[in-house]
Symmetry: C2
């Protein structure tokens, strides 16, 4: 009996959640079957290359979700500073609600597998490009030049991703909200050149 298409998304969603909470190496195929509710056969059907190909799909899906969230925040907020503050409140709330087990959905799997797994690294690069693009456009809208906005976008993404790690260790959202708020203040005080 061929696996039905409806099972692919639950498998990928389970992978995003489990890889983020406990890492890639600690998550077995049986964990993915249990968490997704998909029959084991559907896992081999959609991912005949095994767990490494599920990691690629998980990074792609998580990257898509982060870029969508940031694009929505960019539309809802007046400036990059406000976007950063709003994103920090959102991330800090998600962290608190998960008992600080959730962080950036791509970081752990990227650190475990990049750069040696080429497919995962490539999916990671695309996920970065998407979120960097949203921030660059918002910084240009603030009045920064394109080249400066490209560079400041790297700073914004690094800051939030790094702060999520400290928040997880300290079991409080303080680092995320502090890092984002201080960066927002510095950006707002920066000369536009």
């Amino acid at each position: 009996m061929p696996a039905v298409p409806k099972h692919r998304a639950p498998i990928v969603n389970a992978a995003v959640t489990l890889f983020r909470r406990q890492g890639y190496a600690s998550t077995g195929l049986n964990d993915l079957v249990d968490a997704s509710g998909a029959p084991k056969g559907s896992l081999y059907h959609y991912f005949p290359d095994g767990k490494a190909s599920i990691a690629i799909a998980a990074v792609e899906e998580a990257g898509r979700r982060v870029a969508e969230t940031m694009a929505k925040l960019a539309r809802e907020n007046r400036s990059t500073g406000d976007l950063l503050r709003a994103h920090a409140r959102l991330l800090s709330g998600w962290m608190r609600n998960s008992g600080f087990r959730d962080g950036c959905p791509i970081t752990t799997v990227l650190l475990e597998l990049a750069p040696r797994d080429r497919g995962v690294s490539e999916a990671g690069r695309k996920a970065y490009a998407a979120r960097l693009g949203v921030l660059r456009d918002k910084l240009v809208a603030d009045g920064f030049s394109c080249s400066r906005a490209e560079r400041l976008a790297v700073l914004c993404v690094s800051t939030l991703q790094g702060a999520l790690i400290q928040s997880r260790v300290e079991r409080t959202g303080a680092a995320i909200e502090t890092a984002a708020a201080e960066l927002a203040v510095l950006l707002e005080a920066a000369p536009l050149r």
Copy 2:
């Protein structure tokens, strides 16, 4: 035959290297024995509670190294901006020399084990406190108030730690050097209040 004390440090050093490169879950006790050159008995002698207690020792050792490096850079550099640029050059060079396999020595193991492993989380909190303290003091020396310096230190640490992840995925030190340089410029342009 009791294990001799000289084997503890090589085991911890091997753990720092392997956990950073491939993660905690992927590293077996035999990998640590092979990489350290220590006899297997010494591993059980020094770490009777097994791999989890090696993770704590590895985070403590890596945290100590990072704090020492930052304290040295703080002495050698005139301002926090210069410290950040110098640290970025150093990190980017280390990353390049390791084929982008090395990153922050505590990030991967913290993401895999915190917050559920209390010992590792506590070691992580101490590692953060040490590096945050060095940066706070340097920011105070720049002229920032103590409370602002505390908050800006969180931003500085988050930025470097986050940028290391992007550099690993992209196999270039560009993200580290860009994020640090842009943060340095913003700090140097910031009103001291």
